[in-house]
Amino acid sequence: EPEVTQTPSHQVTQMGQEVILRCVPISNHLYFYWYRQILGQKVEFLVSFYNNEISEKSEIFDDQFSVERPDGSNFTLKIRSTKLEDSAMYFCASVRGSTSYEQYFGPGTRLTVT
């Protein structure tokens, strides 16, 4: 069964460093999302992406964040200068679109900023 994959599973970085979180969405999906979840808390929407453009972004997704689909398979989230409060689980998700609404999540990347 097709699945969303994410790498790395755990990333430790120092405050102020740049990190890139990588995702491979399901191959025939057209809509891509990044979420974050601080331990034990709610799932927070960061950004959605379609047709090589950001569709919508939350207030969390400030100038320190960017997304990119550099090729036909990868979808990346970059944090330019990490802060302690960026420590969280980051989930990528994808939706095929058209008449298919099901959203599938990846296993997540745990980001720890020290």
Binding site: V4, K42, E44, S55, Y101, F105, G106
Partner: protein
Amino acid sequence: QQQVKQSPQSLIVQKGGISIINCAYENTAFDYFPWYQQFPGKGPALLIAIRPDVSEKKEGRFTISFNKSAKQFSLHIMDSQPGDSATYFCAAMSYNFNKFYFGSGTKLNVKP
């Protein structure tokens, strides 16, 4: 403004009992209402979903009840099992796929 409100925050149910989690939404443009199950350290997994043209959808032990006029929907887990112990999130999305609005989550504990 919180677009989707979920309750209760936590729920304890005996094995074999019925677990009921409720959500209410604000935006009448929403037309897809999924429920996700999340185990610790894992990503949310789609459990069951409903569109507003039906009032109920059942898949195995899981049922969504949908009340369009009240702008509410709920998840019922029949014959709850310890393996159902997880956090459940409701969500809502409008037709354009731009954003899924998530509820705050319900931590379910099914006691053996």
